[in-house]
Symmetry: C3
């Protein structure tokens, strides 16, 4: 059972539940070739809290839900959810406030329910959480989402100011310079589940996003890490001036009992100011097999998968659920007319141990290879990474 | 009903309740004239989480209350309340720890229960939350508060250090310099409610604060924004050396059914070291009319108003409560013997939609005009701002 | 009663409890002599929130516990606990994740349950909270702990970069430089309680820790403050290059009714690269007498003491529990072959007032004297500090 009770008010209209998520990671990486610099970073290990979430959610009157979630990893605050949802229209949900936007499969699916420790490189294309509105319609075997996100904000950067007088430096000070950016995006996702029986699942989906950039933040870049969080980026186009981008993606899930296939393709075209467009794409395919026979669970509400629950948890004298998985991913971020860029091929082998409903361990072995362009030179870098995670979540 | 249950221990002596507050803002401002620089900032939009609070409060034994509240807006931690209150003496409360000090009407009243999105410019004079003690006596139709706040602290600023040798810079480093400040203040507030019937309310109040500054922080300034949070300050006296200030304020509320008038005047005199005193004042008047007939609710305990509750919430098939309001405010921060300063006149038109007991939307249109002095030149700046807020709070 | 209820799921296997801790401090210190600089810092006062904790803990299935605790003091996030504990083996606990490691008495004992406001200088030797594993075996009257902690991480420091061309500075920028450190430690603690009756307690213990440092962080230093948090360090060896250290400690508690003696000795030897080893030690003895007759409570589970509970709390018309205590401590951080270092003798007089089960006030008067070596010069500095704390904790 979940550690959090669901508190219900006397009139039955208000509820409150708590949420928590701890992901404790260990990583041991070989030398990593970094994209833009085309140099090698030293081999490194990392022990980090990847996510440390605390939140509350529930209903605050008939037809209204609320959600508030914070992340405290790396001893920093990161607001994740701060929104309310209107459910008064049949089959529909309208979420207002700071939220995550449905776009693609791996990105829409919770970070607590991924086959591998880190999302594949298509995640690069997803929108950041932002203030805005999102409307969702759920049909019999389909879900349609439409979102509008806005990030108009001023950020401060510390720069140095000094004066030279008669060849001598007279005064040196630190000054805060403000950078004002406007970004606005529209997202849509449509998923359809033609087959959804006890033993078989077929899910198909398509997503589209339009991103508008304005004023000081007309910069964009595409870059990716090798399926690990604590390394440098192996491929990176570098910043380029842009007014926005168009991104689309297609996705599919096929599940037969304890065997599952996931795949996704995404393509993004960014308008480059005073230059040719930048068009990049990425895709992945994941195969998973749960050795102990349990199945990944389909959430028809959001059109995503949820982790299997162990048939016999170790606290009940069992051995939990065991899963083996492999993922092949490719990110093509190399455009010949660009100064920088690269192609990244990543192979991830994973073992997942679902010890309890709320507790799992993950082990990933990663083999990544990047072909990079830096100005006029091309080079190839390889790396291997071993990483593990302990996750407690409710 | 509120989403948080009130948990009560078996012996009935201990309780716990949760608190949360989300304010999601949108702002669209024209060019803003900044006070001290007398220049214009570009027109800007903002989408920001204005407040994101989480807290708990309750009783921990007969006669004792506790309060712990944090703010996470802008992804930063801001401790709001961390205190305990002794209630063992009849009609009295003694609060110890980190807390807010009663001073004036708009400042004492919760940010979740303001007629307009932002407090008027008299808020400039209020004391920051601080460590200390506050004693409150509640009579039949009056409340008296007496507070002592202290902020003795060392703050670190990053400065640059370098050495010059033989005309060449030998070493450059960033060094943390500590600034030590002592500030101490005394606050009092007395409110009296001669009329408090179902249909009519008359509330009168007076406040006084003495502020002492010592050692490194003997700097003061008066400044104000045009009733919006994400713009620059339109008037600003700039920093001046001071040993402290005396501030007093008077306030009044008149309410007849769904019509309400609020007003406040504050005057502050700051002692200027080696120069004339600086005397500034500010005032405002607010008129509010709840179209759907609901009333603002008077809290006799603190001598402040609380938002109306919708007679028929939208989750009950109604249209919620609708309110229109207007506020005129004036800040006179211009002293002829000062280098900088200005007068700011702000007119705010507001529409509030109380959708549910815990949910409201606010829309403000602002017209502000500042007359600024910068050294020997005088200038006038105008601006218009449109802003909206979605607030969920319990 | 505690303000937090213990929520239990219907199947009785999952629980949730909240934790909170507020420590509001006031300090008034005379001039402080700082170790390495051998100069005097001005007299200062401080009003600070020393700790502001919020957390939750409980069981998430038979045999598993979870713990999540955060600190928000100084408006910063500090993850304290993020771990799970396996209890499925008899008499044993295995904790995985981010946690505190048992080492010595004062360090293992909670900061909410110390006789004086700040821990004595032996605390310098304790390991920081870290990711890792800890195993605990509890016998009849003994506890054995074995821990492994790891901190592999990259931290970023802001440094300045600039270029000189033809004698002129062409460009100045702030750059983030990453420092990668590997530290790993093993801790053990064994405590034994030969006498543990109603009126008499004898507890003996020994601890050992091995610390390994690698790559960029091969720096170590020993330093101590005079039993206060908001002053400078009075003794400090300065940084020296090291590959690690060995530290051992012995501890004892003797309690007869409302009288208690605590003592601890710790010795650390750090390997110094290209130089002699650095060997330092520290010890303290504390005597406490609870005037109102209550006793400190022994926690056999962890081998530490917990604060007395007032026989008659002030909310029950009593005067709470009153305790007087004195602590003598010595830190010998002076090695003749080192450039910097010092010996610190600190005497602390304390009065504790346990007002309620969850509320106490502490008053400490401190007299500290340091004998410092700075290069070839020796000097002596004295200081006196008065400090007070209000603590609310559950």
């Amino acid at each position: 059972s979940s550690p959090t009770p669901k508190f219900v008010s006397k009139d039955g209209r208000s509820t409150m539940e708590f949420k928590a998520r701890i992901q404790a990671d260990y990583m041991d990486a070989d030398e990593i070739g970094t994209g833009k610099k085309a140099s090698m970073d030293d081999a490194e290990k990392a022990t980090e809290i990847r996510r440390l979430r605390f939140g509350l959610e529930g209903q605050f009157s008939r037809d209204w839900e609320y959600e508030l979630e914070l992340d405290f990893a790396e001893n920093e605050v990161d607001v994740k959810d701060a929104n309310v949802t209107w459910e008064g229209w049949e089959n529909q949900k309208l979420t207002l406030g700071f939220q995550k936007y449905a776009f693609g499969l791996t990105n829409t699916q919770s970070s607590a329910h991924q086959v591998m420790m880190e999302r594949p490189s298509v995640d690069t294309f997803s929108a950041d959480r932002a203030m805005g509105a999102q409307w969702r319609y759920r049909g019999n075997n389909w879900v349609f989402s439409l979102g509008l996100g806005m990030d108009y904000s001023e950020t401060e950067e510390t720069i140095i100011e000094f004066e030279e007088k008669d060849g001598e430096i007279e005064e040196i000070g630190l000054e805060d310079e403000s950078i004002y950016g406007e970004s606005m995006f529209y997202t849509t996702r449509f998923t359809y589940t033609p087959i959804n029986s006890n033993n078989n699942l077929l899910h198909l989906g398509a997503s589209y996003m339009m991103m508008d950039l304005d004023r000081d933040t007309q910069e964009m870049r595409f870059r990716a890490r090798p399926a690990a969080k604590y390394t440098g980026r192996m491929v990176d186009t570098g910043n380029f001036d842009s007014t926005g981008s168009d991104t689309y993606g297609i996705e599919a899930i096929y599940q037969h009992r304890n065997f599952m296939l996931l795949g996704e393709y995404m393509n993004s075209t960014a308008d480059q100011i005073d230059d040719e467009d930048v068009e990049v794409d990425a895709y992945y395919a994941t195969a998973s097999y749960v050795l102990t026979g349990e199945q990944w669970r389909y959430s028809g509400k959001k059109g995503v998968m949820k982790s299997p629950r162990p048939g016999q948890a170790i606290s009940e004298g069992g051995w939990g659920a065991w899963e083996v998985a492999v993922r092949y991913e490719q990110a093509n971020f190399l455009e010949d007319h660009m100064k920088y860029g690269g192609d990244l091929t990543t192979l991830v082998f994973g073992v997942n141990w679902y010890m309890e409903n709320n507790l799992k361990m993950q082990l990933n072995y990663i083999d990544a290879e990047a072909d990079n362009k830096v100005k006029d030179e091309y080079s190839t870098q390889d790396t291997n990474i071993l990483q593990a995670r302990l996750q407690f979540a409710f």
